[in-house]
């Protein structure tokens, strides 16, 4: 659809066709992009994988959203002017900074109706509660932190330290958690983005602040067993919903099944105390000092639990498990400390050793790689077929030869989380972003 806008700006009248599932989203988007009368029509869902006979039927049939004959809409869309087509100026929308006094129940309902919450009861962000939360940082409440949007199709929304404090109150955070949340907000990245894929996120905290605010890096660290882990993770969700429009399912949020990790974002602390010798905390790997505190977002496509055999080398089992993740753009291994210790005993003298071992030894047949997934077929194959980019060399390779599964990014990272009760581990299909400095927000 943004391509049609480009063509309109070049002076060529266009019609854009999308499937009916995206009607609300696209109608909102053409408004947001300043093309409210853009000619946008709809087909039944899905169109992908259908044959020519079906295509004929759709073109001659009715638009499932408007009820008009699709072919008539296409021709009219190219040939008939709309009175508002040549309008200029701006559309200005405002939202109130504060709401008047009312009952807690009604305000809770209002926050739900505005899609700012996770539909669990929230603590109301009253002036006194927000003032108390702001004691957790030395920064001024009016300090601008940046702007955020759910994807590049939507407008940015700007926000301040006070906005973050509101979300922290709503989630049930303590004031001492504020520096962590401000570091997340400063990244200007929401927890997850608009897509038909149900993305998730994981947030890992490193450094002394883990102990200061009593975060959990041990048993149940990724589950609902710790106040800081639970409420910080929840606040990140509420922040993302309040600071973007990602709470609007059907327009800004299109994840077809949804992702349960969106409630809490798997917020945890790395178990730095149980790292094997030579294994550095993640933030140290990325250039921070051990005594600094950071939070890192890992964007997730999917998430699986490995079930290793204890009868042979754990290291040698890793590649097969990563193939099952199906996500070749990169991954993060989450090892329990005992599993990490076992790898160390097998010769993995650093996290980097493990990463390189996985990258080098996770191999797949060329033909299976290109048939593997929607992600590869739509985002990797089109460029490789043109002979462009680093993956082009694998497009022309014999289909039965083996190739590196992670060839596109060569990016596999390792974090250590867990309480040492079993040699289990997990794979997050996604790689960590840059650690965000927490200390500057104290």
């Amino acid at each position: 659809m943004q391509h049609s806008e480009t063509i309109e700006k070049l002076g060529v009248p266009t019609v854009a066709l999308v499937t009916e599932a995206f009607a609300d989203q696209c109608r909102n988007l053409i408004y947001e992009s300043g093309f409210p009368t853009q000619r946008l029509f709809f087909t039944p869902m899905p169109i992908t994988g259908k044959d020519n006979a079906y295509g004929q039927q759709v073109i001659n049939g009715k638009d499932p959203v408007t009820g008009k004959v699709l072919w008539d809409e296409i021709v009219e869309g190219l040939t008939v002017d709309h009175p508002d087509d040549q309008k200029t100026g701006s559309i200005i929308t405002q939202r109130p900074a504060q709401y008047g006094p009312d009952t807690p129940e009604k305000i809770n309902q209002l926050l739900q109706d505005k899609k700012y919450t996770d539909y669990l009861p929230v603590n109301l962000p009253t002036l006194s509660a927000v003032n108390e939360m702001l004691k957790g940082t030395s920064h001024n409440r009016d300090e601008a932190l940046g702007r955020m949007r759910s994807t590049n199709y939507w407008r940015y929304r700007s926000y301040t330290v006070e906005n973050v404090a509101c979300a922290a109150v709503m989630a049930g955070c303590k004031p001492s958690y504020m520096p962590v949340l401000l570091a997340v907000a400063k990244s200007q990245t929401p927890a997850w983005i608009t897509s038909t894929h149900s993305f998730g996120a994981m947030y890992v905290v490193n450094g002394p602040i883990r102990k200061e605010i009593n975060m959990n890096s041990g048993i149940g660290a990724l589950g609902p067993f710790n106040h800081a882990n639970a409420t910080i993770g929840r606040a990140i969700t509420i922040l993302s919903k309040c600071l973007t429009n990602i709470g609007h399912a059907g327009t800004a949020y299109m994840g077809t099944t949804g992702n349960n990790t969106n409630y809490n974002n798997m917020c945890c602390a790395e178990n730095e105390e149980e790292l094997p010798p030579g294994w550095n905390p993640y933030h140290v790997q990325r250039g921070f000092k051990k005594e600094q505190s950071t939070i890192t977002r890992i964007g997730l496509w999917d998430f699986i639990q490995a079930d290793p055999s204890f009868e042979w080398s754990l290291l040698e089992q890793l590649p097969n498990c990563f193939l099952k993740s199906q996500m070749s753009q990169g991954a993060t291994a989450i090892f329990d400390p005992v599993a990490a210790g076992r790898l160390y005993g097998e010769g993995a003298t650093s996290k980097e050793f493990v990463s390189q071992y996985i990258i080098k030894n996770t191999l797949v047949k060329v033909k299976d790689y290109w048939a593997n997934s929607y992600e590869i077929q739509n985002f990797v194959r089109p460029t490789a077929m043109l002979g462009q980019g680093s993956m082009a060399q694998y497009w022309t390779r014999h289909p039965d030869l083996m190739m590196p599964f992670f060839a596109r990014t060569n990016n596999v990272q390792v974090v250590v989380v867990g309480g040492g009760t079993q040699q289990f581990w997990q794979i997050a299909s996604g790689t960590p972003g840059a650690p965000q400095d927490i200390d500057v927000w104290r």
């Binding site: 063509i7 009368t37 073109i59 190219l78 407008r155 460029t383």
Partner: protein, 85 residues
């Protein structure tokens, strides 16, 4: 929030599509070619004097194709783009 600047649309084709050059362009979403082919055929059958050009945009469906955009700007009287999912 930032105000939304309005951008005028290109004027629609005057005098109908007969004799015009119509581009039918696929965004390059997997397995959607049959639908685009049928749009091309429908234009050719309905407007036999029109020149109907079917193109598949290069790169992934979200990526821009500047070469194609320049060609469309130069040659197209009308443009239909489809489709994902």
């Amino acid at each position: 929030m930032e105000p939304i600047p309005l951008t005028p649309l290109a004027p629609r084709v005057k005098g109908g599509l007969a004799g015009k050059t119509i581009y039918v362009v696929s965004v390059n979403f997997t397995a959607t070619e049959p639908f685009l082919e049928e749009i091309q055929k429908k234009f050719e059958a309905t407007f036999p004097t029109a020149t109907v050009i079917y193109k598949i945009k290069e790169g992934s469906y979200a990526a821009s194709d500047t070469t194609l955009w320049n060609e469309v700007k130069e040659k197209a009287d009308a443009y239909v783009m489809a489709i994902g999912h």
